[in-house]
Amino acid sequence: MNTLFLKEFTRRDFLARTTRLCFLGGLSSTLSGCGKTEAPIPAPERVVAEIVEETVEVSAGFEPAYLKLHRTGELKRRAEELWAIMESCQLCPRRCGVNRLKGASGFCRSPGATLVISAFHAHFGEERPLVGEGGSGTIFLTHCGLRCVFCQNWAISHLGRGSEGSIDAFADMMVRLQESGCHNINLVTPTHYSAHILKALDVAAGKGLRLPIVYNTCGWERLEILALLDGVVDIYLPDFKYWDGGLSAKYSAGADSYPEITSAAILEMNRQVGVAKPTSAGIVQRGLMIRHLVMPNDVGGSEEIMAWIAENLPKDTYINIMAQYTPAHKAYDHPEISRRITTEEYQKVVQRARDAGLTNLDIQGWWWLQQ
């Protein structure tokens, strides 16, 4: 089976299997009684029915969540509310309170209220339910409030390399990405620019933007801010990096609240958008997709994170278990993360996820298939 799976598994197969796994996940959790989480999980038969219904419905004419808010003026109001927060900036859990509107830079080092973008383009290397045929319309925002020592994008997230842009230019980027055939607008490291995003989205919606918004975040999000994003974001793509607050403090500039805040944020994201389900074209237009990077010596607490997801979220929650960790930036200051992960380390996490009953796993490569 493995050989066949390895050699012939294409996008179409993936979609069929994803649907099947969603079904099996729902069924197994019901049968084993593991589905008693805070998030409501529908009965398995209903899941399948819903998938089928949604698939047809979505394919027929998807409307992103923010359009409704745009029409009522609520999107603009929320954008202004977020913008005002920058006067004593509380956009991320650092809550450093600098007046970005007067040009001050906080912990994230973003230059006041100025927007800096390092790249925007149709991306074909993101998660496959985001890429499809037209690609994911990715916009890379510079600076970051988390500042991990091992960041591979340190040039943009720590040094802020990129070009300054206006809200209108930002909105135009979104529209251009739509025109080029992208399936979504994928905003990378959005937390400290959430006000800009909503403002630009309001402008872009007025210019005809109809793509779902992907909020591609480190996961460390305040619930108060997420409340303002409710009904705006269609796809949440958070990282869940650490389970241990001591380690998140060590590797992410003192962010000891990371596990606590991120887990609460992910629950809220799930409440807002639910499980990510692909359309018949294989594209996810709404839902929660979690990323987890497996790190050497289990410094991320991968197994605990998998167990937590299994206990607190639907079993068919999409999880991308990433294997590409390589020491970068300041990682060599910490010998325990100054190497790559081993096959065994990766397999262990995948096994734990499977044992916990998680069914919608994006596994990277042969490591998993070897089992």
């Binding site: 996008r11 390092s118 074909f124 037209g134 190497r339």
Partner: protein, 767 residues
């Protein structure tokens, strides 16, 4: 006594060059060097040395105890060397920069400046002091500067050879510097010994020297130096488990062990982790091209093959032989010393033939042809690496490919930070490939873009279905070469993406003799590490010969105006001529080495010989001129004749090099051409060496002091060398090419000729 001074000056030259090379190597490990960082470090060295000549050096005239002062400066210089090494290795810890992390342009500049400050200033001052004490004992003035220049050059020549073949490969920097210190202390002891009875200061100095010799000897013989080396290495690598640290002729390699994984750093940059390579990149880089070929049998890998690439290539059952050219044997020795199953399998497989040779040289000399050629050098970040990204190299590779063969190479890429410099770099290499091959397939990635080039159309049309079918047929199992990953990499959207990515970017071609790829690579580095400087640097791309000519005319007009109102004195023409000669000397040396590398490949011993020929030329020139000066009636006329000859050299050099290039394939002419290369190194050296003592004589005529003159003109020579090294290597050669750079040198020397000629004309008019 004269002989003792002679030895002291030779040792001074020797010590200076050893210090320069070893500290350059140490600083490059910290700064993760490219051509720009080499330029910055050398620039600081030369500028500081020039300052040393000019200011502390001039104090010699006021000093009553010139010999004692020379001794004291030598002692301080010798002590500053190990201190500079220790400081360099502790630098990242002090400024809070991590191992493997790059340092920006500005910190690179001021940190190297601060570290080199005591060493270079003291060494610069030694030259001026050396001239004075030599004159003291030889009762000569003008010619003594020339002789000191000759002896110092001889010392430099010996230092270069010793450093390359003895010190760098066999000794740690601390061992080498403690040896240098002992040598200098002994020389000073010999120099000062006759003055034992003169007075208490001399006695104190001699006793101090004796104590220093004993103490240094104790440090060297008791293993304390090795302990210091180990301690500083630990400080540099922040308490990682350093299992090996070694210099070779080609670079520094440091190996760190971490829970069964070995991390190899080359010149401070993490280059390889065994046994877990960068799986995603290695598999894409190897398997996609191999799967694009219907039946790959003969493979050539030019550098970077060990540690994953060979292992993956061997998974294809049709592979009959892999030739692997790796210049530095140290890397493979260390892979054998710290074996992992993966690297052992690679290096012991009967199908793999390893050759320790420059990849380009191997490709030129081999009679084999290949189905695929992989270039493991991933960026044209210096002149040497750029040779693997030029039109000439691509043509050579094409001639060694079988029908349907594929050339595979990687260039820096990014999906997160798309800047103009990155686009220009990719576009330049793409268009250069396009000028040679009919079909090119770009596979964009985050970190590296992979280019496949072939005359067969298959690489353009290959898709996931075909690749997966071949993967299946060949029974290959790899970590990430699974259908959904292949689908992602070969997504049809990437083709449009790449076309859009290149829109509006440079379409200029990267040539052997016009290495624009290097310029764009430096621009890309600037975009990441020094964006403000990068904006300025980018403007240099606009430089052309028209602008150079305009600057030349403008300079002459300004000079004539200032001279006419006496803002510039006539005597300034001599230092100006020496600056331009220093510039020309550095450029000639650089151009000859660069051309040799491009034509014959990187052969370390030959590079050493070419440098030696240039320096031997300089020594001979200075020596001949010093002897002839006494009989010379009209020094200025002879000086101008040398100026004209240097201009002639600038004009002739491109013709000679291009002619050699045109007939480079001829084996019968090989010996002749190699001798010709030595000749074209020697002759400019001869002219430049000859001009220096003559310049001193002419300048001294105007009543200047000996040490002041020596300091000023030596500083002028260094300043010119600095300009040549940094502007020539980083801007002129890449942007204007070999011919343009030579014309620029010619125009600059023409300007200096006119400036030197002008005063005599003016005085003629006055008469």
């Amino acid at each position: 006594m004269k002989r003792r001074v002679f030895i002291a000056i030779v040792v001074m030259g020797f010590s200076g060059l050893v210090a320069e090379i070893l500290l350059l190597r140490e600083l490059l490990i910290v700064f993760s060097g490219n051509e720009l960082s080499i330029g910055i470090i050398l620039a600081n060295w030369l500028i500081l040395e020039a300052l040393g000549c000019l200011f502390p050096g001039r104090m010699v005239e006021k000093s009553k105890h010139k010999l004692e002062a020379f001794t004291l400066i030598t002692i301080l210089f010798s002590l500053s060397l190990p201190a500079a090494v220790f400081l360099t290795r502790s630098l990242k810890s002090i400024i809070g920069v991590s191992v493997g992390e790059s340092i920006g342009l500005l910190p690179m500049f001021y940190l190297s400046f601060l570290i080199l400050l005591p060493v270079s200033i003291l060494h610069g001052a030694l030259f001026t002091f050396g001239c004075r004490i030599y004159a003291m004992f030889s009762a000569q003035d003008a010619s003594s500067v020339g002789r000191v220049y000759v002896y110092e050059t001889v010392g430099t020549l010996i230092g270069g050879v010793a450093c390359t073949y003895l010190l760098l490969p066999h000794l740690s920097a601390f061992q080498a510097f403690i040896g240098i210190a002992i040598l200098n202390f002994v020389v000073c002891l010999i120099l000062l010994a006759p003055y034992w009875e003169t007075g208490p200061p001399q006695k104190a100095l001699l006793i101090g020297l004796g104590a220093l010799i004993l103490f240094s000897g104790y440090l060297a013989s008791s293993g304390q130096v090795d302990k210091l080396h180990q301690y500083s290495i630990q400080a540099q690598w922040k308490n990682h488990n350093v299992v090996h640290y070694q210099n070779s002729q080609y670079g520094n390699t440091c190996v760190i062990e971490n829970q069964g994984q070995y991390i190899f750093f080359q010149d401070g940059i993490p280059s390889l982790i065994t046994p877990v390579p960068d799986i995603i990149f290695v598999e894409e880089f190897v398997h996609l091209p191999l799967l694009a070929h219907p039946a790959p049998a003969q493979i050539l890998i030019l550098s970077g093959g060990a540690g994953g690439i060979i292992n993956e290539a061997l998974k294809h059952p049709s592979i009959a032989a892999i030739e692997y050219a790796e210049l530095d044997p140290l890397l493979l020795d260390l892979l054998r010393k710290f074996p992992t199953p993966l690297t052992e399998a690679e290096l012991t497989d009967a199908r793999v033939k390893i050759r320790h040779v420059d990849g380009r040289l191997f490709l030129k000399t081999t009679s084999q042809s290949y189905d695929l050629i992989f270039v493991g050098i991933m960026e044209p970040s210096n002149l040497q690496a750029n040779r693997f990204f030029t039109q000439e190299f691509f043509s050579l590779a094409k001639s060694r490919l079988n029908e349907g063969g594929i050339l595979v190479l990687g260039v820096p890429g990014s999906l997160t930070f798309l800047n103009d410099a990155l686009k220009d770099l990719n576009s330049c290499i793409f268009h250069t490939l396009n000028s040679v091959f009919s079909h090119i397939r770009a596979i964009p990635g985050d970190g590296r873009n992979v280019f496949l080039a072939s005359d067969a159309p298959e690489i353009s049309s290959i898709d996931m279905g075909q690749v997966v079918r071949r993967l299946n047929e060949r029974g290959i199992t790899a970590e990430v070469m699974v259908p959904w990953h292949i689908e992602k990499k070969l997504h049809h959207g990437w083709q449009d993406w790449f076309t859009r990515f290149l829109e509006g970017s440079s379409q200029r071609i990267n040539h052997d003799f016009k290495p624009l790829g290097l310029f764009y690579s430096i621009s890309h580095w600037n975009a990441l590490h020094a964006p403000s400087f990068g904006q300025l640097f980018k403007q240099f791309e606009r430089i052309n010969l028209g602008i150079i000519f305009l600057l030349f005319v403008l300079f002459l007009l300004l000079y004539v105006s200032f001279r006419s109102v006496n803002i510039i004195s006539a005597t300034a023409s001599i230092p100006f001529a020496i600056v331009t000669t220093g510039f020309a000397g550095m450029m000639f040396s650089l151009i000859v080495i660069f051309a040799f590398q491009a034509i014959y490949g990187y052969v370390f011993s030959w590079i050493g010989l070419l440098v030696a020929a240039f320096m031997a030329g300089a020594a001979c020139g200075a020596m001949l001129m010093t002897g002839a000066m006494a009989r010379m009636q009209d020094g200025r006329r002879f000086f101008m004749a040398i100026e004209l000859t240097i201009i002639g050299c600038s004009v002739m050099l491109p013709f000679v090099l291009l002619a050699v290039n045109a007939y480079a394939g001829s084996q019968s002419l090989l010996f002749f051409f190699q001798m010709l290369f030595l000749g074209v190194s020697f002759v400019p050296g001869l002219l430049i060496g000859a001009q220096f003592p003559l310049a001193n004589k002419l300048y001294l005529k105007d009543g200047a002091s000996l040490s002041g003159t020596a300091g000023l003109l030596y500083a002028a020579d260094l300043l010119g060398g600095w300009l040549g090294g940094i502007v020539g290597a980083v801007v002129l050669l890449p942007v204007l090419g070999l011919v343009g750079a030579c014309i620029t040198v010619g125009l600059l020397k023409l300007a200096s000729f006119i400036v030197v000629a002008a005063p005599s004309h003016a005085s003629f008019v006055r008469r």
